[in-house]
């Protein structure tokens, strides 16, 4: 066996060595280690425990009086009962987890029920907030676009009469849409419909026997190409909004189911 280290000797002195018997045997056989251990024991034996000064008889009471005004009254009766029911921390933890899951589940159900009418209302509000009824407006803009195309390519008095009749028909509907656009706070849309309305008014009020030259002049004056482009843009915008609204409506229905 090798010589004992100082750490082993210190452990042995405090009776904490796992190989106490082996160390004792080695100390009997090895004079060097025995001498080292004797020195260590002498040194440690010489270190007397520090003697604390004596305290007066009422020392504990004085300590309590010095802190009693700084401590609050415990109000833990309920927790004490709880602790008695749940004897271990693990049980308390498992119980807490179960309760948490149950509460989360029922809260989720309640939340869903609470949200359902709100979602229906929100969907209704969304529809109400749409600048104009998208589907009908889309139809109107489609008709207007076709009307302007026909106007641009119109070359006879017969066609001129048809164009005039169509303009009169579109005019009343366009007024309603324009007013709706103003009320719903969509000035860009309202302005575009206003320009379309001016064209429709001009054409609807043309004399019934208007010549082809007059129609061509009117086409030029009203700059129908620019207006046609504007109506196409509006119709495209309305179609986009229709596509955006459609999935939302499906989702709403999904929640309802």
């Amino acid at each position: 066996m090798n010589h004992l280290t100082e750490e082993q000797l210190i452990e042995h002195y405090y009776a904490e060595s796992a190989q106490s018997a082996g160390i004792e045997r080695h100390l009997r056989e090895c004079n060097g280690c025995a001498e080292t251990y004797a020195e260590l024991r002498t040194d440690l034996d010489a270190i007397e425990p520090i003697t604390a000064p004596a305290r007066a008889a009422g020392h504990g009471q004085l300590v309590w009086q010095s802190i009693r005004n700084f401590v609050p009254v415990h109000r833990q009766q309920q927790q004490g009962l709880w602790q008695r029911f749940s004897h271990t921390k693990g049980l308390s933890f498992a119980t807490a987890c179960t309760l948490l899951i149950a509460v989360a589940f029922f809260a989720g159900r309640q939340w869903e029920n609470y949200q359902r009418p709100l979602q229906i209302q929100a969907a209704a509000n969304d529809r109400a907030r749409q600048p104009i009824g998208l589907v009908v407006l889309g139809d109107h803009l489609g008709r207007s676009e076709r009307f302007l195309v026909a106007l641009r390519h119109g070359d006879s008095t017969e066609s001129s009469a048809l164009v005039k009749a169509e303009a009169q028909d579109l005019l009343s509907a366009n007024r309603l849409y324009r007013e709706s656009a103003i009320k719903s706070g969509d000035p860009a849309f309202a302005a575009a419909l206003d320009r379309l309305e001016r064209v429709l008014v001009e054409i609807a009020n043309e004399p019934p026997n208007g010549s082809h030259a007059r129609l061509a002049e009117l086409q030029k004056e009203l700059n129908t190409d620019g207006l046609l482009f504007e109506v196409r843009v509006l119709r495209s915008r309305v179609q986009d909004e229709q596509r955006e609204q459609q999935p939302a409506a499906v989702r709403t229905l999904g929640v309802l189911i």
């Binding site: 210190i10 309590w64 802190i67």
Partner: protein, 189 residues
């Protein structure tokens, strides 16, 4: 006594604040003693006693019914004392590791009771006190618990909330430093 202490703790937690006073009276000196051994100062030890019992009261809800109150409050007090030692600046007087130990040599062979012997004893105490001051707070605390409070390495580790091996190493380092500082005592006539 243990069951009695548990009933006192239940009473305190139920709102009977004054019941805690009985626990303070019962354990105050044991707490003062270990606090004094760690801090080496009477006023500091009194501060530790107050702080330990105050913290003990405030944390009483976390006290587990299976534990012993004496062990629980003892651990709180040791940590309060350790924290206090860590906050304190090192003492102005410290023994340098390379100091000439022959300057501190004392004679211990004469066992007769005499004025010289008393003086010698006082000098040994002073040397031991200075040697203890040489230790770090954790070394001193671990050594006090091992050598003077007779606590096992496992108990020291649990009290200081460190690994058992770290507790063992702290005791080893403390013993090595103390032996070096107290070497003059080995010189006999």
């Amino acid at each position: 006594m243990e069951e009695n202490e548990h009933s006192i703790i239940r009473a305190v937690l139920s709102g009977n604040k004054e019941a805690y006073g009985a626990l303070v009276v019962r354990h105050s000196y044991a707490i003062f003693r270990v606090a004094f051994r760690i801090t080496g100062d009477q006023a500091d030890a009194e501060d530790v006693v107050q702080e330990a019992f105050l913290l003990g009261y405030l944390k009483l809800e976390s006290f587990e019914a299976r534990a012993k109150f004496s062990t629980w409050i003892y651990r709180i007090a040791v940590n309060c004392a350790l924290n206090l030692k860590n906050k304190r600046k090192p003492d102005a007087f410290r023994i340098a590791e390379d100091a000439d130990i022959t300057q501190h040599q004392v004679q211990v062979a004469d066992t007769a009771a005499s004025p010289e012997r008393l003086l010698l004893s006082q000098e040994i105490d002073a040397l031991q006190a200075r040697a203890m001051q040489e230790l770090t707070a954790i070394e001193r605390t671990a050594f006090v618990l091992r050598h003077m409070e007779d606590r096992s390495t496992e108990e020291i580790a649990a009290t200081l909330q460190i690994a058992p091996n770290a507790a063992k190493q702290a005791v080893f380092r403390a013993v090595q430093k103390l032996r070096r500082c107290l070497a003059p005592l080995r010189v006999t006539a």
